[in-house]
């Protein structure tokens, strides 16, 4: 079953003292559903805190895939997922362990994703400059998804094999841009952005595995039976006859 893009939603927050952001409601539908959330946060004093939870619809708690802190201790990027979200409209709340100065958050949904082992081995990278890149191996029938973050950005260009799914720029908080893109696993396994100028960046990427079929058949019981044949009596073997007697 092929992976397909469903819907997305994004938001930004600024101004300091922020501990959580609610992403506007978005709907998920279709079979073998899967959600991904990306969150980038910045704090101007020593260390930006980690994401403490990402919850959709009040009960669907995401599994962190990465939460990478740049060497400057100020720029942090999270990527996490939830498998088989309810087929419904619901918002996503991202909460940090403590306050941040600003944050950009986005989430999207896919269909056709393997429900038991949805992701492969992820990769992350951080740096400063214009070439934002991470290499992650993916099989031909998988998708690679990435979450890139460039700080103080005027713009960026994604790799030729990638499809930009969303990008959000925080107009008030240093102009940071966060975006997510996808790429077929049959491409070059390189997720890249080229920033318009040299800047701090963080990127993470992970392969997504396709569902093997739209229908899953599970064996839930075993049916067994035994049969026996009664041993025939002498009367049955020789009906109406004299039963022979053998004397030795």
């Amino acid at each position: 079953m092929a992976i397909a893009y469903d819907t997305d939603s994004t938001s930004t927050a600024d101004g300091g003292g922020v501990t959580s952001i609610t992403i506007p409601t978005f709907a998920t539908s279709g079979s073998n559903r899967w959600c991904f959330a990306a969150a980038a946060a910045y704090l101007s004093v020593p260390t930006t805190p980690a994401v403490s939870s990402v919850v959709r619809g009040g009960s669907e708690t995401f599994t962190p895939k990465w939460d990478v802190l740049h060497a400057d201790n100020q720029h942090r990027s999270y990527g996490g997922f939830f498998t088989n979200p309810a087929e419904a409209t619901a918002s996503v709340v991202v909460t940090w362990a403590s306050t941040v100065s600003g944050a950009v958050v986005g989430a999207f949904a896919l269909t056709g994703v393997d429900q038991s082992t949805p992701t492969g081995t992820h990769g992350t990278a951080t740096g400063t400059g214009t070439a934002v890149t991470v290499t992650v191996a993916a099989a031909a029938d998988e998708w690679l998804i990435d979450s890139g973050w460039v700080a103080t950005g005027a713009g960026f260009t994604i790799g030729a094999d990638q499809t930009l799914r969303f990008s959000v720029q925080d107009d008030n908080w240093t102009g940071s841009i966060v975006g997510c893109s996808t790429q077929p696993g049959s491409a070059d396994d390189i997720m890249s952005w080229t920033a318009d100028g040299s800047m701090t960046w963080v990127i993470g990427a992970v392969p997504i595995k396709p569902a093997t079929s739209g229908i899953t058949v599970t064996q839930t019981s075993v049916i067994s039976a035994t049969a026996s044949v009664p041993t025939p009596s002498a009367a049955t073997l020789y009906p109406g006859s004299v039963i022979p007697t053998i004397t030795l």
Binding site: S9, T10, S11, T12, A13, D14, G15, G16, G17, V18, T19, S20, I21, T22, I23, P24, T25, S44, V45, T89, A90, S91, V93, T95, T99, S101, D171, N172
Partner: protein, 119 residues
């Protein structure tokens, strides 16, 4: 740009208070919710220890049904002289859209100024 709620002074004791609903002009595509913070120049606003959970709901059918929309949680006090805490997102297209808000306060009384801005 349109200021649907323009720096409205609010004084919310511990508990919740709702604002709106307000109509969103059809042509606008972005909404931002802002709460003024304490700075050196505004020492009486949003004291330290006061936590705020700002939630909003958007209606795409003139107020008949409501979807949970933008929001943020934040704590008060002077945070590096930042004048506002805000959250912003794109709006879905449509006619007759409305937005309403709820501010839930704990740890004291929230004294601030509320702004809802669309572009």
């Amino acid at each position: 740009m349109a200021l649907l709620i323009d720096h409205q002074s609010i004084n919310v004791p511990a508990g919740s208070r709702e604002f709106g609903p307000v109509a969103i002009p059809d042509a606008l595509t972005q909404v931002a919710l802002r709460l003024a913070r304490q700075t050196t120049a505004t020492p009486t606003l949003w004291a330290a220890g006061v936590t705020v959970d700002l939630k909003s709901w958007c209606s795409l059918d003139g107020g008949v049904t409501w979807l949970q929309w933008l929001g943020f949680g934040a704590v008060g006090g002077n945070f590096h002289e930042m004048a506002e805490s805000s959250v912003e997102s794109a709006l879905p297209p449509g006619a007759g859209r409305q937005i309403k808000l709820a501010v839930t306060v704990a740890g004291g009384t929230l004294v601030s100024r509320l702004t809802v801005e669309t572009t």
